[in-house]
Point group: C2
Protein backbone atom coordinates (compact mmCIF):
# COMPACT_ATOMS: atom_id res chain seq x y z
CA UNK A 1 0.00 0.00 0.00
CA UNK A 2 1.32 3.44 -0.90
CA UNK A 3 2.10 5.74 2.02
CA UNK A 4 -0.14 8.81 2.26
CA UNK A 5 1.20 12.01 0.76
CA UNK A 6 3.08 14.51 2.91
CA UNK A 7 0.09 16.85 2.81
CA UNK A 8 -3.17 14.91 2.32
CA UNK A 9 -5.23 18.10 1.92
CA UNK A 10 -3.62 21.46 1.16
CA UNK A 11 -5.50 24.76 1.12
CA UNK A 12 -3.97 27.80 -0.53
CA UNK A 13 -5.43 31.24 0.14
CA UNK A 14 -4.54 33.41 -2.85
CA UNK A 15 -3.81 31.30 -5.92
CA UNK A 16 -1.47 33.51 -7.92
CA UNK A 17 2.22 33.16 -8.78
CA UNK A 18 3.36 32.26 -5.27
CA UNK A 19 0.42 30.09 -4.16
CA UNK A 20 -0.10 28.47 -7.55
CA UNK A 21 3.56 27.61 -7.98
CA UNK A 22 3.49 25.99 -4.53
CA UNK A 23 0.61 23.70 -5.49
CA UNK A 24 2.23 22.81 -8.84
CA UNK A 25 5.56 22.04 -7.16
CA UNK A 26 3.91 19.82 -4.54
CA UNK A 27 1.83 18.02 -7.16
CA UNK A 28 4.98 17.48 -9.24
CA UNK A 29 6.64 15.67 -6.35
CA UNK A 30 3.54 13.74 -5.32
CA UNK A 31 3.64 15.43 -1.92
CA UNK A 32 0.04 16.55 -1.91
CA UNK A 33 -3.33 14.75 -2.10
CA UNK A 34 -6.09 17.26 -2.72
CA UNK A 35 -5.68 21.03 -3.18
CA UNK A 36 -8.33 23.53 -2.13
CA UNK A 37 -8.16 27.07 -3.46
CA UNK A 38 -9.53 30.05 -1.56
CA UNK A 39 -9.70 33.62 -2.78
CA UNK A 40 -11.69 36.76 -3.27
CA UNK A 41 -12.20 36.46 -7.03
CA UNK A 42 -14.17 33.44 -8.14
CA UNK A 43 -13.11 34.00 -11.75
CA UNK A 44 -9.48 33.75 -10.81
CA UNK A 45 -10.11 30.58 -8.79
CA UNK A 46 -11.94 28.98 -11.71
CA UNK A 47 -8.97 29.82 -13.92
CA UNK A 48 -6.64 28.26 -11.34
CA UNK A 49 -8.78 25.12 -11.42
CA UNK A 50 -8.67 24.98 -15.24
CA UNK A 51 -4.90 25.32 -15.10
CA UNK A 52 -4.68 22.42 -12.64
CA UNK A 53 -3.32 24.54 -9.80
CA UNK A 54 -6.17 23.57 -7.49
CA UNK A 55 -8.68 20.72 -7.39
CA UNK A 56 -11.60 22.50 -5.72
CA UNK A 57 -12.72 26.00 -4.85
CA UNK A 58 -13.37 26.40 -1.13
CA UNK A 59 -14.28 28.95 1.52
CA UNK A 60 -12.03 29.81 4.46
CA UNK A 61 -14.35 27.81 6.72
CA UNK A 62 -14.10 24.73 4.48
CA UNK A 63 -10.33 25.14 4.30
CA UNK A 64 -10.07 25.25 8.10
CA UNK A 65 -12.30 22.18 8.44
CA UNK A 66 -10.62 20.04 5.78
CA UNK A 67 -7.00 21.03 5.26
CA UNK A 68 -3.90 19.61 6.90
CA UNK A 69 -1.91 22.63 5.81
CA UNK A 70 -3.19 26.10 4.95
CA UNK A 71 -0.79 28.48 3.20
CA UNK A 72 -1.60 32.19 3.03
CA UNK A 73 -0.30 33.64 -0.21
CA UNK A 74 -2.15 36.94 0.04
CA UNK A 75 -0.95 40.51 0.55
CA UNK A 76 0.14 41.07 4.14
CA UNK A 77 -2.71 43.52 4.73
CA UNK A 78 -5.24 40.68 4.25
CA UNK A 79 -3.72 38.25 6.75
CA UNK A 80 -5.36 39.50 9.96
CA UNK A 81 -8.91 39.03 8.67
CA UNK A 82 -8.04 35.72 6.99
CA UNK A 83 -6.58 34.25 10.19
CA UNK A 84 -9.54 35.49 12.24
CA UNK A 85 -11.93 33.78 9.83
CA UNK A 86 -9.97 30.53 9.96
CA UNK A 87 -9.54 30.36 13.74
CA UNK A 88 -12.98 29.15 14.94
CA UNK A 89 -12.94 26.23 12.50
CA UNK A 90 -9.35 25.02 12.81
CA UNK A 91 -8.66 21.42 13.75
CA UNK A 92 -5.88 20.71 16.24
CA UNK A 93 -3.42 19.11 13.84
CA UNK A 94 -3.80 21.66 11.04
CA UNK A 95 -0.77 23.81 10.30
CA UNK A 96 -0.84 27.28 8.83
CA UNK A 97 2.00 29.03 7.10
CA UNK A 98 2.37 32.13 4.94
CA UNK A 99 4.47 33.62 2.18
CA UNK A 100 4.57 37.20 3.43
CA UNK A 101 7.60 39.39 2.71
CA UNK A 102 7.92 40.56 6.33
CA UNK A 103 7.82 38.47 9.47
CA UNK A 104 7.81 40.50 12.73
CA UNK A 105 4.57 42.19 11.75
CA UNK A 106 2.97 38.99 10.42
CA UNK A 107 3.86 37.12 13.61
CA UNK A 108 2.29 39.88 15.69
CA UNK A 109 -0.86 39.81 13.56
CA UNK A 110 -0.99 36.02 13.81
CA UNK A 111 -0.61 36.04 17.61
CA UNK A 112 -3.48 38.47 17.86
CA UNK A 113 -5.73 36.57 15.44
CA UNK A 114 -4.95 32.99 16.47
CA UNK A 115 -4.60 33.38 20.25
CA UNK A 116 -3.86 30.02 21.87
CA UNK A 117 -3.63 28.37 18.45
CA UNK A 118 -0.48 30.37 17.56
CA UNK A 119 1.59 27.18 17.85
CA UNK A 120 -0.10 25.97 14.66
CA UNK A 121 1.34 28.91 12.67
CA UNK A 122 4.83 28.49 11.20
CA UNK A 123 5.79 31.74 9.44
CA UNK A 124 7.55 31.49 6.10
CA UNK A 125 8.86 33.52 3.18
CA UNK A 126 9.86 32.02 -0.16
CA UNK A 127 12.40 34.29 -1.89
CA UNK A 128 11.18 34.04 -5.44
CA UNK A 129 10.58 36.64 -8.11
CA UNK A 130 7.18 38.22 -8.28
CA UNK A 131 7.32 40.40 -11.36
CA UNK A 132 4.47 38.46 -12.95
CA UNK A 133 1.18 37.93 -11.19
CA UNK A 134 -1.94 35.76 -11.32
CA UNK A 135 -2.59 32.03 -11.76
CA UNK A 136 -1.22 32.05 -15.33
CA UNK A 137 2.20 32.96 -13.96
CA UNK A 138 2.43 29.87 -11.70
CA UNK A 139 5.23 27.40 -12.51
CA UNK A 140 6.13 24.05 -10.95
CA UNK A 141 9.83 24.98 -10.99
CA UNK A 142 9.56 28.44 -9.42
CA UNK A 143 11.14 27.28 -6.15
CA UNK A 144 13.80 24.94 -7.56
CA UNK A 145 17.04 25.85 -5.86
CA UNK A 146 15.56 29.02 -4.35
CA UNK A 147 15.72 30.02 -0.70
CA UNK A 148 12.71 29.73 1.57
CA UNK A 149 13.04 31.27 5.01
CA UNK A 150 11.08 29.91 7.93
CA UNK A 151 10.97 31.90 11.17
CA UNK A 152 9.55 29.30 13.60
CA UNK A 153 7.96 30.44 16.85
CA UNK A 154 8.82 29.02 20.25
CA UNK A 155 5.24 27.75 20.41
CA UNK A 156 5.77 25.61 17.28
CA UNK A 157 6.34 21.94 17.99
CA UNK A 158 9.41 20.29 16.50
CA UNK A 159 7.15 18.20 14.26
CA UNK A 160 5.30 21.32 13.02
CA UNK A 161 8.57 22.91 12.08
CA UNK A 162 9.81 19.75 10.42
CA UNK A 163 6.63 19.30 8.40
CA UNK A 164 6.98 22.78 6.98
CA UNK A 165 10.63 22.19 6.12
CA UNK A 166 9.66 18.97 4.33
CA UNK A 167 6.92 20.76 2.37
CA UNK A 168 9.28 23.39 1.00
CA UNK A 169 12.02 20.86 0.30
CA UNK A 170 9.45 18.87 -1.68
CA UNK A 171 9.05 22.04 -3.78
CA UNK A 172 12.76 21.93 -4.60
CA UNK A 173 13.62 24.84 -2.30
CA UNK A 174 16.47 25.28 0.18
CA UNK A 175 15.07 26.03 3.63
CA UNK A 176 16.80 28.46 6.00
CA UNK A 177 15.73 29.11 9.58
CA UNK A 178 16.01 32.59 11.01
CA UNK A 179 14.45 34.71 13.72
CA UNK A 180 11.78 37.16 12.47
CA UNK A 181 13.75 40.32 13.30
CA UNK A 182 16.85 39.15 11.44
CA UNK A 183 14.70 38.15 8.48
CA UNK A 184 13.14 41.61 8.39
CA UNK A 185 16.46 43.43 8.60
CA UNK A 186 18.03 41.31 5.87
CA UNK A 187 15.03 41.63 3.57
CA UNK A 188 14.81 45.38 4.25
CA UNK A 189 18.42 45.56 3.10
CA UNK A 190 18.41 43.44 -0.06
CA UNK A 191 14.80 43.71 -1.20
CA UNK A 192 12.79 46.55 0.31
CA UNK A 193 15.40 49.32 0.22
CA UNK A 194 16.33 48.68 -3.44
CA UNK A 195 12.63 48.90 -4.30
CA UNK A 196 12.28 52.11 -2.32
CA UNK A 197 15.33 53.71 -3.96
CA UNK A 198 14.36 52.57 -7.44
CA UNK A 199 10.87 54.05 -6.97
CA UNK A 200 12.21 57.31 -5.51
CA UNK A 201 14.57 57.65 -8.47
CA UNK A 202 11.84 56.85 -11.01
CA UNK A 203 9.54 59.35 -9.31
CA UNK A 204 12.21 62.05 -9.49
CA UNK A 205 12.87 61.52 -13.20
CA UNK A 206 9.15 61.39 -14.00
CA UNK A 207 8.61 64.62 -12.04
CA UNK A 208 11.34 66.59 -13.83
CA UNK A 209 10.42 69.36 -16.25
CA UNK A 210 12.11 67.63 -19.21
CA UNK A 211 11.12 64.05 -18.34
CA UNK A 212 10.29 63.22 -21.98
CA UNK A 213 13.81 64.07 -23.07
CA UNK A 214 15.26 62.10 -20.18
CA UNK A 215 13.16 59.03 -20.91
CA UNK A 216 14.12 59.21 -24.58
CA UNK A 217 17.79 58.86 -23.66
CA UNK A 218 17.46 56.27 -20.91
CA UNK A 219 19.32 53.09 -21.78
CA UNK A 220 19.91 49.60 -20.48
CA UNK A 221 21.40 50.71 -17.14
CA UNK A 222 18.30 52.78 -16.44
CA UNK A 223 16.16 49.83 -17.51
CA UNK A 224 17.78 47.44 -15.03
CA UNK A 225 17.95 49.93 -12.18
CA UNK A 226 14.26 50.85 -12.43
CA UNK A 227 12.71 47.48 -13.31
CA UNK A 228 11.50 46.83 -9.76
CA UNK A 229 9.84 50.25 -9.60
CA UNK A 230 7.13 48.84 -11.92
CA UNK A 231 5.91 46.52 -9.14
CA UNK A 232 2.46 46.66 -7.59
CA UNK A 233 1.95 49.85 -5.51
CA UNK A 234 -0.50 48.02 -3.20
CA UNK A 235 1.83 45.14 -2.47
CA UNK A 236 4.82 47.38 -1.85
CA UNK A 237 2.96 49.93 0.25
CA UNK A 238 1.96 47.02 2.51
CA UNK A 239 5.53 45.71 2.64
CA UNK A 240 7.00 49.12 3.52
CA UNK A 241 4.40 49.81 6.21
CA UNK A 242 4.74 46.30 7.57
CA UNK A 243 8.54 46.50 7.75
CA UNK A 244 8.76 50.21 8.49
CA UNK A 245 11.35 50.20 11.27
CA UNK A 246 13.83 47.97 9.49
CA UNK A 247 13.44 49.83 6.18
CA UNK A 248 13.99 53.21 7.83
CA UNK A 249 17.02 51.81 9.63
CA UNK A 250 18.60 50.53 6.43
CA UNK A 251 17.77 53.74 4.55
CA UNK A 252 19.65 55.60 7.26
CA UNK A 253 22.73 53.50 6.55
CA UNK A 254 22.42 54.01 2.81
CA UNK A 255 22.21 57.77 3.42
CA UNK A 256 25.46 57.65 5.37
CA UNK A 257 27.15 55.81 2.51
CA UNK A 258 25.68 58.34 0.07
CA UNK A 259 27.01 61.22 2.18
CA UNK A 260 30.52 59.78 2.00
CA UNK A 261 30.47 59.07 -1.72
CA UNK A 262 28.97 62.46 -2.50
CA UNK A 263 31.61 64.18 -0.37
CA UNK A 264 34.34 62.41 -2.36
CA UNK A 265 32.77 63.67 -5.58
CA UNK A 266 32.31 67.16 -4.15
CA UNK A 267 36.01 67.17 -3.18
CA UNK A 268 37.05 65.77 -6.56
CA UNK A 269 38.80 63.04 -4.60
CA UNK A 270 39.45 60.60 -7.43
CA UNK A 271 41.20 58.09 -5.22
CA UNK A 272 38.34 57.86 -2.69
CA UNK A 273 35.80 57.67 -5.53
CA UNK A 274 37.78 54.91 -7.18
CA UNK A 275 38.02 52.88 -3.98
CA UNK A 276 34.32 53.19 -3.33
CA UNK A 277 33.42 52.19 -6.90
CA UNK A 278 35.92 49.36 -6.88
CA UNK A 279 34.60 47.88 -3.65
CA UNK A 280 31.05 48.00 -5.00
CA UNK A 281 32.08 46.48 -8.35
CA UNK A 282 34.11 43.66 -6.80
CA UNK A 283 31.31 42.83 -4.35
CA UNK A 284 28.74 42.77 -7.15
CA UNK A 285 30.91 40.56 -9.38
CA UNK A 286 31.66 38.18 -6.51
CA UNK A 287 27.96 37.98 -5.63
CA UNK A 288 27.04 37.23 -9.26
CA UNK A 289 29.60 34.45 -9.45
CA UNK A 290 28.21 32.78 -6.35
CA UNK A 291 24.48 33.44 -6.52
CA UNK A 292 23.78 31.91 -9.90
CA UNK A 293 21.83 35.12 -10.63
CA UNK A 294 23.85 36.89 -13.31
Amino acid sequence: MASPPLVPVLAVVGVGLIGGSLTLALKRSGAVGKVLGVGRQLKSLRRAQELGLIDEVATLEQAAQQADLIVLATPIGAMASTLKSLRPHLRDHTLISDAGSTKVDVVSVAREALGDRIGQFVPGHPIAGAETVGPEAARADLYDGRNVILTPLEENSVSARERLIAVWEACGARVMLMDPATHDEVLASVSHVPHFLSSVFMWQVASSANSDQRFALAGTGFRDFTRIAAGSPEVWRDIFLSNREAVLGQLQEVRQALDQAEQALQDQDGQALYEFLERAALARRFWASRSGLQ
Copy 2:
Protein backbone atom coordinates in the same frame (compact mmCIF):
# COMPACT_ATOMS: atom_id res chain seq x y z
CA MET B 1 32.14 54.18 -61.59
CA ALA B 2 31.10 53.62 -57.97
CA SER B 3 30.93 56.73 -55.79
CA PRO B 4 33.53 56.89 -52.99
CA PRO B 5 32.44 55.74 -49.55
CA LEU B 6 31.12 58.27 -47.03
CA VAL B 7 34.36 57.92 -45.06
CA PRO B 8 37.28 56.93 -47.32
CA VAL B 9 39.66 56.45 -44.36
CA LEU B 10 38.41 56.08 -40.80
CA ALA B 11 40.66 55.98 -37.74
CA VAL B 12 39.33 54.69 -34.44
CA VAL B 13 41.26 55.35 -31.25
CA GLY B 14 40.30 52.61 -28.79
CA VAL B 15 38.97 49.55 -30.61
CA GLY B 16 36.69 47.99 -28.00
CA LEU B 17 32.92 47.56 -27.86
CA ILE B 18 32.10 51.14 -28.85
CA GLY B 19 34.85 51.75 -31.41
CA GLY B 20 34.79 48.24 -32.86
CA SER B 21 31.02 48.23 -33.27
CA LEU B 22 31.28 51.54 -35.10
CA THR B 23 33.74 50.12 -37.63
CA LEU B 24 31.64 46.96 -38.12
CA ALA B 25 28.47 48.98 -38.61
CA LEU B 26 30.12 51.26 -41.17
CA LYS B 27 31.66 48.31 -43.01
CA ARG B 28 28.24 46.62 -43.05
CA SER B 29 26.70 49.60 -44.84
CA GLY B 30 29.63 50.13 -47.20
CA ALA B 31 30.14 53.60 -45.74
CA VAL B 32 33.84 53.21 -45.05
CA GLY B 33 36.89 52.53 -47.18
CA LYS B 34 39.86 51.71 -44.97
CA VAL B 35 39.87 51.50 -41.17
CA LEU B 36 42.91 52.34 -39.07
CA GLY B 37 43.03 51.21 -35.45
CA VAL B 38 44.96 53.10 -32.80
CA GLY B 39 45.42 52.05 -29.19
CA ARG B 40 47.71 51.49 -26.27
CA GLN B 41 47.74 47.70 -26.39
CA LEU B 42 49.19 46.17 -29.53
CA LYS B 43 47.79 42.75 -28.63
CA SER B 44 44.27 44.14 -28.49
CA LEU B 45 44.76 45.89 -31.83
CA ARG B 46 46.02 42.68 -33.45
CA ARG B 47 42.95 40.90 -32.15
CA ALA B 48 40.75 43.66 -33.57
CA GLN B 49 42.45 43.15 -36.90
CA GLU B 50 41.90 39.38 -36.80
CA LEU B 51 38.24 40.00 -36.02
CA GLY B 52 37.94 42.32 -39.04
CA LEU B 53 37.21 45.41 -36.97
CA ILE B 54 40.18 47.29 -38.43
CA ASP B 55 42.28 46.93 -41.54
CA GLU B 56 45.56 48.33 -40.21
CA VAL B 57 47.22 49.22 -36.94
CA ALA B 58 48.34 52.86 -36.86
CA THR B 59 49.86 55.51 -34.63
CA LEU B 60 48.09 58.75 -33.72
CA GLU B 61 50.40 60.57 -36.12
CA GLN B 62 49.51 58.22 -38.97
CA ALA B 63 45.83 58.54 -38.14
CA ALA B 64 46.04 62.34 -38.25
CA GLN B 65 47.88 62.24 -41.56
CA GLN B 66 45.67 59.70 -43.33
CA ALA B 67 42.16 59.69 -41.89
CA ASP B 68 39.12 61.64 -43.07
CA LEU B 69 37.39 60.96 -39.76
CA ILE B 70 38.99 60.13 -36.40
CA VAL B 71 36.71 58.83 -33.66
CA LEU B 72 37.95 58.76 -30.07
CA ALA B 73 36.47 55.77 -28.25
CA THR B 74 38.73 55.99 -25.21
CA PRO B 75 38.04 56.83 -21.57
CA ILE B 76 37.45 60.55 -21.12
CA GLY B 77 40.62 60.90 -19.09
CA ALA B 78 42.70 59.96 -22.14
CA MET B 79 41.20 62.50 -24.54
CA ALA B 80 43.34 65.53 -23.73
CA SER B 81 46.63 63.79 -24.51
CA THR B 82 45.17 62.06 -27.58
CA LEU B 83 43.93 65.32 -29.07
CA LYS B 84 47.23 67.06 -28.32
CA SER B 85 49.11 64.29 -30.13
CA LEU B 86 46.80 64.49 -33.14
CA ARG B 87 46.80 68.26 -33.51
CA PRO B 88 50.16 68.97 -35.17
CA HIS B 89 49.49 66.39 -37.91
CA LEU B 90 45.86 67.11 -38.73
CA ARG B 91 44.84 67.92 -42.28
CA ASP B 92 42.30 70.69 -42.84
CA HIS B 93 39.40 68.55 -43.97
CA THR B 94 39.75 65.85 -41.30
CA LEU B 95 36.95 65.62 -38.76
CA ILE B 96 37.27 64.34 -35.22
CA SER B 97 34.49 63.06 -33.04
CA ASP B 98 34.25 61.14 -29.80
CA ALA B 99 32.04 58.74 -27.88
CA GLY B 100 32.51 60.17 -24.40
CA SER B 101 29.71 59.97 -21.83
CA THR B 102 29.97 63.66 -20.88
CA LYS B 103 30.17 66.63 -23.18
CA VAL B 104 30.80 69.97 -21.38
CA ASP B 105 34.09 68.69 -20.02
CA VAL B 106 35.12 67.00 -23.29
CA VAL B 107 34.39 70.17 -25.25
CA SER B 108 36.51 72.17 -22.83
CA VAL B 109 39.36 69.68 -23.12
CA ALA B 110 39.07 69.71 -26.92
CA ARG B 111 39.14 73.53 -27.12
CA GLU B 112 42.28 73.55 -25.03
CA ALA B 113 43.98 70.77 -27.03
CA LEU B 114 42.90 71.69 -30.56
CA GLY B 115 43.04 75.50 -30.38
CA ASP B 116 42.11 77.03 -33.72
CA ARG B 117 41.28 73.58 -35.10
CA ILE B 118 38.31 73.19 -32.72
CA GLY B 119 35.90 73.58 -35.66
CA GLN B 120 37.05 70.13 -36.83
CA PHE B 121 35.77 68.50 -33.63
CA VAL B 122 32.09 67.46 -33.55
CA PRO B 123 31.35 66.00 -30.08
CA GLY B 124 29.18 62.89 -29.89
CA HIS B 125 27.82 60.27 -27.54
CA PRO B 126 26.26 56.99 -28.68
CA ILE B 127 23.83 55.72 -26.03
CA ALA B 128 24.61 52.04 -26.19
CA GLY B 129 25.22 49.43 -23.51
CA ALA B 130 28.75 48.96 -22.34
CA GLU B 131 28.53 46.04 -19.93
CA THR B 132 30.88 44.01 -22.07
CA VAL B 133 34.27 45.29 -23.10
CA GLY B 134 37.06 44.65 -25.59
CA PRO B 135 37.21 43.94 -29.32
CA GLU B 136 35.42 40.58 -28.91
CA ALA B 137 32.31 42.41 -27.72
CA ALA B 138 31.97 44.51 -30.89
CA ARG B 139 28.83 43.92 -32.97
CA ALA B 140 27.71 45.40 -36.29
CA ASP B 141 24.16 45.87 -34.95
CA LEU B 142 25.03 47.58 -31.65
CA TYR B 143 23.71 50.95 -32.84
CA ASP B 144 20.65 49.77 -34.74
CA GLY B 145 17.75 51.89 -33.58
CA ARG B 146 19.79 53.39 -30.73
CA ASN B 147 20.17 57.07 -29.96
CA VAL B 148 23.37 58.93 -30.74
CA ILE B 149 23.63 62.46 -29.42
CA LEU B 150 25.73 65.05 -31.18
CA THR B 151 26.46 68.35 -29.45
CA PRO B 152 27.83 70.44 -32.34
CA LEU B 153 29.90 73.53 -31.63
CA GLU B 154 29.27 76.94 -33.15
CA GLU B 155 32.67 76.57 -34.83
CA ASN B 156 31.53 73.43 -36.70
CA SER B 157 30.59 74.01 -40.32
CA VAL B 158 27.20 72.82 -41.50
CA SER B 159 28.90 70.22 -43.66
CA ALA B 160 30.97 68.93 -40.72
CA ARG B 161 27.81 68.48 -38.69
CA GLU B 162 26.02 66.81 -41.58
CA ARG B 163 28.87 64.42 -42.25
CA LEU B 164 28.77 63.21 -38.65
CA ILE B 165 25.00 62.79 -38.76
CA ALA B 166 25.38 60.74 -41.95
CA VAL B 167 28.06 58.54 -40.36
CA TRP B 168 25.90 57.60 -37.39
CA GLU B 169 22.82 57.12 -39.53
CA ALA B 170 24.86 54.74 -41.67
CA CYS B 171 25.39 52.76 -38.44
CA GLY B 172 21.63 52.39 -38.05
CA ALA B 173 21.41 54.94 -35.22
CA ARG B 174 18.97 57.77 -34.62
CA VAL B 175 20.82 61.06 -34.27
CA MET B 176 19.70 63.75 -31.82
CA LEU B 177 21.24 67.21 -31.55
CA MET B 178 21.55 68.85 -28.16
CA ASP B 179 23.68 71.46 -26.44
CA PRO B 180 26.45 70.03 -24.24
CA ALA B 181 24.98 71.25 -20.92
CA THR B 182 21.57 69.72 -21.59
CA HIS B 183 23.25 66.49 -22.64
CA ASP B 184 25.18 66.38 -19.40
CA GLU B 185 22.14 67.09 -17.23
CA VAL B 186 20.03 64.46 -18.96
CA LEU B 187 22.78 61.84 -18.83
CA ALA B 188 23.52 62.70 -15.19
CA SER B 189 19.87 61.97 -14.51
CA VAL B 190 19.25 58.74 -16.42
CA SER B 191 22.72 57.20 -16.48
CA HIS B 192 25.22 58.61 -13.98
CA VAL B 193 22.96 58.98 -10.94
CA PRO B 194 21.57 55.43 -11.23
CA HIS B 195 25.13 54.15 -11.37
CA PHE B 196 26.09 56.24 -8.36
CA LEU B 197 23.10 55.07 -6.31
CA SER B 198 23.52 51.44 -7.32
CA SER B 199 27.18 51.56 -6.28
CA VAL B 200 26.41 53.34 -3.01
CA PHE B 201 23.82 50.72 -2.20
CA MET B 202 26.12 47.83 -3.12
CA TRP B 203 28.88 49.37 -1.01
CA GLN B 204 26.54 49.67 1.96
CA VAL B 205 25.41 46.02 1.77
CA ALA B 206 28.97 44.78 1.29
CA SER B 207 30.10 46.84 4.29
CA SER B 208 27.44 45.49 6.66
CA ALA B 209 28.43 43.12 9.47
CA ASN B 210 26.20 40.31 8.16
CA SER B 211 26.85 40.85 4.45
CA ASP B 212 27.16 37.11 3.76
CA GLN B 213 23.66 36.49 5.06
CA ARG B 214 22.33 39.42 3.08
CA PHE B 215 23.96 38.28 -0.15
CA ALA B 216 22.61 34.75 0.39
CA LEU B 217 19.05 36.09 0.38
CA ALA B 218 19.39 38.63 -2.40
CA GLY B 219 17.07 37.83 -5.29
CA THR B 220 16.21 39.01 -8.78
CA GLY B 221 15.25 42.54 -7.72
CA PHE B 222 18.65 43.00 -6.10
CA ARG B 223 20.29 41.51 -9.18
CA ASP B 224 18.69 44.03 -11.53
CA PHE B 225 19.13 47.02 -9.23
CA THR B 226 22.85 46.37 -8.71
CA ARG B 227 23.88 45.14 -12.18
CA ILE B 228 25.39 48.49 -13.19
CA ALA B 229 27.46 48.62 -10.00
CA ALA B 230 29.70 45.93 -11.53
CA GLY B 231 30.93 48.42 -14.15
CA SER B 232 34.53 49.55 -14.52
CA PRO B 233 35.65 51.71 -11.54
CA GLU B 234 38.10 53.60 -13.79
CA VAL B 235 35.54 54.46 -16.44
CA TRP B 236 32.92 55.54 -13.91
CA ARG B 237 35.30 57.55 -11.75
CA ASP B 238 36.20 59.51 -14.89
CA ILE B 239 32.55 60.00 -15.79
CA PHE B 240 31.60 61.24 -12.32
CA LEU B 241 34.55 63.63 -12.11
CA SER B 242 33.94 64.82 -15.65
CA ASN B 243 30.23 65.48 -15.02
CA ARG B 244 30.55 66.43 -11.37
CA GLU B 245 28.31 69.51 -11.27
CA ALA B 246 25.38 67.91 -13.08
CA VAL B 247 25.63 64.67 -11.06
CA LEU B 248 25.68 66.57 -7.76
CA GLY B 249 22.71 68.64 -8.92
CA GLN B 250 20.65 65.58 -9.81
CA LEU B 251 21.64 63.80 -6.60
CA GLN B 252 20.31 66.81 -4.72
CA GLU B 253 16.93 66.36 -6.41
CA VAL B 254 16.89 62.63 -5.70
CA ARG B 255 17.61 63.41 -2.04
CA GLN B 256 14.61 65.73 -1.91
CA ALA B 257 12.39 63.01 -3.35
CA LEU B 258 13.87 60.54 -0.86
CA ASP B 259 13.14 62.94 2.01
CA GLN B 260 9.49 63.10 0.99
CA ALA B 261 9.04 59.38 0.52
CA GLU B 262 10.82 58.61 3.77
CA GLN B 263 8.68 61.12 5.63
CA ALA B 264 5.54 59.38 4.33
CA LEU B 265 6.88 56.07 5.60
CA GLN B 266 7.90 57.62 8.92
CA ASP B 267 4.38 59.02 9.28
CA GLN B 268 2.79 55.70 8.24
CA ASP B 269 0.97 57.72 5.58
CA GLY B 270 -0.29 54.84 3.43
CA GLN B 271 -2.06 57.12 0.98
CA ALA B 272 1.01 59.27 0.28
CA LEU B 273 3.19 56.15 -0.02
CA TYR B 274 0.73 54.60 -2.43
CA GLU B 275 0.59 57.70 -4.61
CA PHE B 276 4.36 57.91 -4.77
CA LEU B 277 4.74 54.21 -5.63
CA GLU B 278 1.93 54.37 -8.16
CA ARG B 279 3.42 57.35 -9.97
CA ALA B 280 6.78 55.58 -10.17
CA ALA B 281 5.21 52.30 -11.33
CA LEU B 282 3.05 53.93 -14.01
CA ALA B 283 5.98 55.99 -15.30
CA ARG B 284 8.19 52.88 -15.46
CA ARG B 285 5.56 50.81 -17.25
CA PHE B 286 4.86 53.62 -19.72
CA TRP B 287 8.57 54.03 -20.40
CA ALA B 288 9.00 50.29 -20.98
CA SER B 289 6.10 50.25 -23.44
CA ARG B 290 7.63 53.07 -25.48
CA SER B 291 11.35 52.49 -25.22
CA GLY B 292 11.49 48.98 -26.58
CA LEU B 293 13.73 48.20 -23.58
CA GLN B 294 11.67 45.87 -21.43
